[in-house]
Amino acid sequence: MDLLLDVSSEYADVVTSVFSSTIAAKAWLATAAIGLAVVQVTTASHMWGRLRGVIRLSEPVVHRIHRWSGRLAFLCTLPVFFHCVFILGYDIPGVRVGVHAVAGTFVYGVFSAKVLIVREKGYPRWVYPAVGGTLAGTLALLWATSSLWYFTNVRFGF
């Protein structure tokens, strides 16, 4: 039991060395992830022939940006995942938290399926934007029910 308490307090100590609280840390990390998700959607649109008049970059560069923004977004979500799942766990006192919990349950499932589909190739064309859009939408829902709520109802600061 002491070990479990230590993990929780160690996590809080590390996070609060940068942010004012663990909740503020999650709000900002999730915001970074959603910002990178916007980059993902934008570069994916470019790969599918859209926004080429807006983003004047070569195809290899766009592919590289897409891959790295995805990796960074995934990394940003890991501390958030750890705190939400391992420390807070399930507790649904209201609609906002309920929606957040359900979306949070599925987001890594959608992410895993998306990565697998991209790597396997050979699916109908519509599958790729559909699964990518589902992942971006799930992330946006998670952000709206956590970070956006925090910034508008608690405080906008680190």
Partner: protein, 117 residues
């Protein structure tokens, strides 16, 4: 195995794993244990309510009814000793010492007024 099955299995498996982990919440600190015979001074319940709304309600909800990231305190049966232990030591998402001194006594008075089931 038909194409498309593997991503579906992956989706279901990962989602189920996340759900199970969240149910277990293995590093959740849980409620603070009672601190024995430690004396707790209860302050001004009205001032405590104002302090609670400004410092605690973002996580514990308006009136301590929940809705944020912290547990609901209203009707929780937590004793002032337990609440004081949590405020002093922190735990989970809650940093230690959010309120101290007279402010803490006032907040304890308010929480005591709403914690009774």
């Amino acid at each position: 195995m038909p194409k498309g099955t593997r991503p579906l299995i992956m989706f279901a498996g990962v989602s189920a794993a996340v759900f199970a982990l969240a149910l277990a919440a293995v590093f959740e600190p849980g409620r603070p244990s009672a601190a024995g015979s430690e004396n707790v001074t209860l302050g001004d319940v009205y001032r405590g309510e104002t302090l609670f709304q400004s410092r605690c309600a973002s996580c514990h909800g308006q009136g301590g009814k929940g809705g944020g990231s912290g547990p609901a305190l209203a009707g929780s049966s937590l004793t002032p000793v337990q609440v004081k232990a949590q405020i002093d030591a922190g735990g989970g998402a809650m940093p230690a010492g959010l309120v101290t001194g007279r402010d803490e006594e006032d907040v304890l008075a308010f929480v005591a007024s709403i914690a009774a089931p």
